[in-house]
Symmetry: C2
Subunit: 345 residues, 2 copies
Amino acid sequence: MPPAEKPNAASRGRPTLARIAQLAGVSVPTVSKVVNGRADVGPETREHVERILREHGYRPLRKLGAPGAHVELVFHALEGVYDTEVINGVESVASEHGLALVVSQLGHQFTPDALWMERVLSRRPAGVISAFSGLDREQRMQLRDRGIAYVVVDPTEDPGPEFPTVAAHNWMGGLAAARHLLELGHRRVAAVTGPMWALPARARFDGYCAALERAGVPFDARLVGEDDFLPRGGLAQARRLLRLPDPPTAFVAGNDGQALGVCQAVHEAGLRVPQDVSVVGFDDLALAESHVPPLTTVHQPVRQMAATAAGIAVRLAAGKPVERMRVELPVRLVERASAAPPPSS
Amino acid sequence: MPPAEKPNAASRGRPTLARIAQLAGVSVPTVSKVVNGRADVGPETREHVERILREHGYRPLRKLGAPGAHVELVFHALEGVYDTEVINGVESVASEHGLALVVSQLGHQFTPDALWMERVLSRRPAGVISAFSGLDREQRMQLRDRGIAYVVVDPTEDPGPEFPTVAAHNWMGGLAAARHLLELGHRRVAAVTGPMWALPARARFDGYCAALERAGVPFDARLVGEDDFLPRGGLAQARRLLRLPDPPTAFVAGNDGQALGVCQAVHEAGLRVPQDVSVVGFDDLALAESHVPPLTTVHQPVRQMAATAAGIAVRLAAGKPVERMRVELPVRLVERASAAPPPSS
C-alpha cells in the first residue's frame, strides 16, 4: 500500500500499539521496540511484529515541527559540489518546515548496513532521502512499515513503484551532449561513462548512442570507457582512448568531474581543449564555469531535484497525497568554451 | 567556567531543575522551557533563569548514543568540496559515537539568527560545531548555560578562551606559498586574499608579508586584492592586477577557489600558467590535483580539522576534560605545475 494511495492513513483507522500487540501475541513494549528500531528484540519476533504492522497499515503519528522531527539524507560518499547542492536543496525545504536535516554517508557503499539502519530507525525520522544510493528492498519495507517516507534523488536503480524518485532527464542530456559535438562536425566522439549499473550513467550513454544513430555515425565500442564519476576516472579512460591508432576528436563525459580528468589527459598528450579535442561534461556545477577553458556541459538542476524530493518526503510524512511518484526535471546544454569544430587535418 | 576546567560538572554537585526553579522563584516547567530553548517564555524570565543556571553550573545530563543524541554542524553556506570535507570529518567521529549529525547553513550569513538558535536549542544537541562561521557572544552563552559544547572549526574570529577552536597553520601556509614563489625568482608577487575580517584570510596575508620581508622584497600595496573566497573573487582581482603598468609575475591566492579564478584571468589575458604567470593556491581540495595545470597549493587538513573539532565536542559533551582549547594543525606546500620561474624577459 503505497503512501500516495493512502493519504489519510496517518489519522484514519489507525490501529493502536495495544491492538497490534494483541494481534501479534506480544507485549506493547515489544511492539514499541520494533516500531522504534531497537536492537533488543529477537529477529523472529521482529519479523512477526513487522508483518502485523504491515498488514494493518500501522503508521505512527508524528507532528511536523515538533522537537526531534527531522529528515535523514544519506549519500554513498560525500565528495564535492554535487553533494553540497543536494544538501542545500533538502535543507532549504526541511528548514522551511522546521525539520532538522541529519546527514550521513556510507563510506562509498551504495546500500546502508544494519548499524546505519538501526540508528536511523531509532531516531524516528519523518522521512529518509537517499542520493545516488539506495536502501535494499528489506530496508525500504522497514521504513514503510514504520510510516517513514522514503524518497530517492538521482536513483541508481528503481526502488519500486511505491517509492517516489526525482531524477534529471539523463537520457536527453546524453543525447544533447553528443548531438552538440556531432553538429560541430565531430565523427569520432568518445563516451566516458559513469558506472553502467547506475541508471543515470546508463541513460546518458544511451542518449549518446541515440545521437550517433540519428546522425548516421556508426557506434564504435572501442570509443567507450566506463569508470568512476570522478576526475581520476575521466583521466584514466581518456589517456587510454587518446592512445588509440585513430583517437577520438571529442569526448562526452559522464559528469563534470570526469570531464576535468579528460581535459587533463588531453593536456598531458600535448593537445589543447578545444582546438585539438572537444570535451562536454554533465552537471554544470560551480567548477564548470571557472575551469580553463570554461566547460561546455549539460546542466542538471541538482539543488532543485533535492528540494523536490524533500518536498515529497514532507508531504508523505504529513499524510498528504503525492501527485507524481516519478519526477524527471529538465536538463539543458550550456555552451561555454570546451567544444569547437574538429581540427581540419 | 569553561567546560575544560569542570570535567565532572556533568555528574557531581549538579543542581536539579527543582532547585534552580526554587532559586529563580519560578516553576519547574518554566525552567525546563528555558533549558529546552522553548519560545513561550518572556525574555526577562528567560534571562533571569539563564543567570541562575549559569551561576549554579547547571549541566543537563545526556547519554551519548541515546536516541536523539546528535551534534549540530553549521556553515555560513554550503558551496563545495571544503564543506563536504568538513562534513566527512565531523560525521566520521559523530558516527563512531552513535551520534547523528544535523547539518544547517545560514544562507551566507556568518552569524545565526534567532530562529536558527531557537531550533537548535529545542533539539538539545550534545554539541554545536561551526565551520568558517560563528555564534555571537550571547548565543555562545546560551549554549554554555545549557551545557551544550561549542567548538569552532576554521574560526573567522576568536570565540573567547572558554570555547575550543581548531584551525590550520594559516600564517605558516601564507609564508610557505609566498616563499616558494620568491625562491623561484619572482619579485612581483601579488596576493589575492579572502575577506580580511576573517582570521584565516588575514593570517595567510600576514605570512605572505613576512615572506616578502625576509626575502628583502619591498611590500607593494598595489599588488594586493581582497575578495570573496570564490573563483569569481580571484578572477576579478587578477583581471585588475594583470592590467597594472607593471603587472605581477606570480599570485598567491587566498584559497584554491580564488586560484582557479586567477588562472582564468591569466588565460583571458592571453598568458599561460605557469610559463608567463605562476599561481599558488591554499586548501589542496580534490579539484587542485585535477586542474590543468595541476595546482601548486598549500595543503590544509580540512577533514582532520573537522574530526578533531568533533572529537573535542564529544569529550566536552561527555563531561571529559579537553587538553588544548586552541588546536592548529600543520599545513604543507604541495608542488604541482602552476608555479615556475618567472619569464626571463
